[in-house]
């Protein structure tokens, strides 16, 4: 399958990338291409210009800033999964990255691409929201709570590029998902984190967009144990219903995944 014709450009730096975006008719940035290219091959997207930012210098890195772990936007899933710094500081994040799709997808796909795309069943948005991370762009800094605005939509403005994501190191954190057997995407995935200030619970795959589950946060704040979630009822009203599962089934998965994520957090895995 061929996508519609487009012009491919590989800018040398972020300023050139943003300039190329301003000058083109209907431009799109290209990072790992693991979402955009299949979409273009199906002709669901037909940008006039692809601006390949995957090799723009300074976008692929992992570094510690005191208690914060900062990951460059074009860092690939495989790199995050294997990085000793990530495994030491936030093992749940390394495990999440290592559970995305398959090895070949992880060798190309990037954290920035995943966040900009904000697929309702993507894994990374739950870690970013669950850890209360901050998304840094070419223009500003956006808190996770303000970044994910709806299905496939984010607070990014046209042309704005995610440059890095800063994750505050949690006291402990865990992630658990039920994979869609065909794609690996989350049927329901829950990221729980005890940050030191509060407890955050972020749910992906179950709704139109990643969201925080207040009742589960309160229950875990009282007692950070899987059992604390036993009596929490997850409302099915706003959850997805599709050929893979009903809303009620997803509500049940959310509760079970939250308990497993809490158990994973406690075991330090």
């Amino acid at each position: 399958m061929y996508p519609a014709s487009f012009t491919y450009v590989r800018p040398a730096d972020l300023a050139a990338a943003e300039a190329a975006f301003r000058e083109a008719d209907d431009p799109r940035y290209l990072a790992g291409g693991m979402t955009l290219i299949p979409t273009m091959k199906q002709r669901l997207a037909a940008p006039s210009t692809l601006i390949d930012i995957a090799r723009v210098p300074g976008l692929s890195f992992i570094r510690r800033e005191k208690d914060t772990l900062v990951i460059g936007a074009c860092t690939r899933h495989a790199t995050v999964a294997a990085a000793p710094e990530v495994r030491a500081a936030i093992p749940a994040l390394a495990a999440l990255a290592g559970g995305i799709g398959d090895p070949a997808v992880r060798n190309r796909g990037t954290i920035g691409g995943s966040l900009a795309n904000n697929d309702p069943a993507a894994d990374y948005p739950s870690a970013v929201l669950g850890l209360g991370a901050v998304i840094r762009t070419t223009r500003r800094t956006i808190a996770a709570d303000a970044f994910f605005t709806g299905m496939f939509s984010t607070a990014l403005e046209p042309g704005e590029i995610i440059t890095e994501v800063a994750f505050p190191g949690p006291r402990r954190a865990g992630y658990a998902k039920v994979r869609n057997p065909a794609s690996g995407y989350a049927m329901a995935g829950v990221f729980v984190a005890e940050t030191g200030k509060d407890v955050r619970v972020a749910v992906t795959g179950a709704g139109a967009c990643v969201f925080r589950a207040a009742e589960m946060e309160q229950a875990l704040a009282r007692s950070f144990t899987p059992d604390a979630l036993a009596d929490v009822r997850v409302a099915a009203a706003d959850l997805n219903a599709d050929i893979h599962g009903s809303a009620a089934y997803r509500a049940q998965l959310v509760r079970v995944m939250a308990a497993r994520a809490a158990a994973a957090a406690l075991s330090g895995a």
Partner: protein, 152 residues
């Protein structure tokens, strides 16, 4: 059009291609390296798996232009009759194929698995084969072959 240069199976190649040319089509149609297959064409099956700078990627989900300046190895580059790669030999010995359509991708994935895991157990191999589908074998002998290649 865009000009691409890369090193494919040890040889430097250069061509002018349409910007939208997928890497798999560049390999198959421009370079006539038809060992790399197109199965699903939707990024799921891994029949098109090649090594890009030493790592397994799906060549149906990349543009040739993205690989400009890179080093690529396809199934044609890993071994040849009489001088098979240990992974190819293990696939032959353990009867890890039936129709053979998935096999080039499986072998490229298998080599990539052993790059990252010295002696993977069966569970690890099965997990690592997540992105490679085989419609014929039921995977049992594929897993066996990769395990045998790790031990050889």
């Amino acid at each position: 059009m865009t000009s691409v240069s890369m090193r494919v199976n040890g040889a430097d190649v250069r061509a002018d291609v349409e910007d939208r040319t997928l890497l798999v089509h560049f390999l198959r149609e421009h370079l006539r390296l038809t060992g790399t297959h197109v199965g699903c064409d939707t990024s799921q099956c891994g029949a098109c798996t090649i090594h890009l700078n030493g790592e397994a990627v799906k060549s149906c989900t990349m543009f040739a232009a993205q690989a400009d300046g890179d080093e690529i190895v396809t199934i044609e580059g890993v071994g040849e009759p009489g001088r098979l790669h240990s992974m190819q030999a293990a696939f032959q010995q353990h009867h890890a194929l039936q129709c053979g359509f998935c096999t080039p991708g499986m072998i490229m994935a298998g080599i990539d698995i052993l790059r990252r895991h010295k002696s993977p157990d069966e569970e690890t191999i099965r997990e690592e084969l997540e992105g490679n589908l085989c419609r014929c074998t039921g995977y049992v002998n594929i897993v066996k072959a990769i395990k045998a290649a790790a031990e050889s």
